[in-house]
Symmetry: D2
Subunit: 153 residues, 4 copies
């Protein structure tokens, strides 16, 4: 089983929301489990997309309250670690798709790079690092699966 992490801000524009939802849908259609931080914004949109496509979503929450998860999370893991849980989102993901996002997303990108996880970026942080830049949500998932050596269906 492949676990794909989708990282991005807890708040986002309608455009970013639509993009994240498409990413989530394609993650589910690829048969992968979607991992995220379980909150709103990009995390919620990607989870919604995945669930509508029949997929499974895992939310690794910063707080202690499972009810803080967005409504599209299948398995909600309250950690109580605050933003230190970002490291767990990365460790639980075989590869990452970063969509937009703020400092939390940047920390996840950095931790992912440090751990050697392949990272695909959709309109995300501009940094001098081997992030695979794409502009299309479906491409994001396909490129990541390719990097992971997973056959696309």
């Amino acid at each position: 089983m492949v676990y794909l992490g989708v990282i991005g801000g807890a708040r986002c524009t309608p455009e970013v929301d639509a993009c994240a939802e498409q990413v989530g849908g394609e993650v589910a259609r690829s048969g992968a489990i979607l991992v995220c931080g379980g909150m709103g914004g990009v995390m919620e949109a990607a989870s919604r997309g995945a669930r509508l496509a029949g997929g499974v979503t895992v939310g690794i929450l910063p707080g202690l309250d499972r009810e803080s998860a967005n409504p599209y999370i299948t398995v909600a893991i309250p950690t109580g670690l605050g933003e230190a849980r970002n490291a767990l989102v990365v460790r639980a993901s075989d590869g990452l798709i970063a969509i937009d996002g703020s400092y939390g997303t940047l920390s996840e990108i950095a931790l992912g790079l440090q751990l050697g996880r392949p990272i695909v970026g959709l309109d995300t942080w501009k940094i001098d690092a081997p992030i695979i830049r794409v502009s299309n949500p479906l491409d994001a998932v396909h490129r990541l699966l390719e990097e992971l050596g997973v056959q696309n269906s």
Copy 2:
């Protein structure tokens, strides 16, 4: 959705294994998600029981390698936190069933008590604390659901 944690040693006797498998099966039949540390022994037996009964199991692993999970884990979360992940097993569980077990299990019981989680014990640590002692695997699950105010099916 209710999340029931099953805690116990990474190695156990055949008797304890059989007991844990029955607990896992009943967790699944109750409709709850089974949470555990994802490794062998009691964790593996409970996961096996849950999966054979059609349930979902979450393994919160101490290491960074998802492949270290036992084969009956549906969602494997590698944390890389070592035994500090015991706190996450407890936080991710609405209530806990402790079966036999050694020091790791004792730490989870203690953290569960500290967090106010109801704990049911099956032949586990003798300590002066409000652990609900039962001797039968099915009773363990039923008593825990009762404590959590969940209607048994």
Copy 3:
């Protein structure tokens, strides 16, 4: 440099407070650094004893606010991990002295046993485990140093 952990409840009786203060003083006189959870009760009393004897104290705090440390902490480390920081108190200590205490202390004893740390107990949890039981604060420190192979001055 030797690091000795002193664990116990965040609230305690005057008798336990006096005992913990004596333990802290002897830790400092032995030249060791005192590690604790940085809060009140036993942690504060032990820190007070250590500081009055000219020692150094490290408080590994559950919250994000350094100001929550008791006033006798030399180096205050806010972790924001909640009680998951108990694992860090144990990992940062070469050996542990448990004084009285409730569930948090029990979790630290259990994690210490799991990590193979020598543990000396002063009127603490009765569990079936190799805790070195003593009844005198000075003996507690001397026995722990002996276990660690450190020459008493």
Copy 4:
């Protein structure tokens, strides 16, 4: 007491080493405690500078082995959390000075920005964020103290 974090790579050039050593020295002369990840490179050079100037250094280590700390650490805290300890370095620091550095440093910068910590950068990551850029080691410390509202001696 003010705690200043110095973050940067575990390996660095002689030029970066010299810069970090000067930063560490000035941190110590300002009376602040120096916090770092406790390993080599920038962390070691900054710790060396601080110790040579009579200061106190705290190393929050990724591993479980205290002996992995560089020789200039006064208080070594083995966490066993791997790179998840980066969040603890940030939380334990009132402000951060980033010197050069790779992905781990970037994750600490991002977590610091997320937590609202002031960050001063010396030839470090180019990102679109409110990092105070300086080119001189002494300026780095002075500007950070200024941001923290601490009177320079």
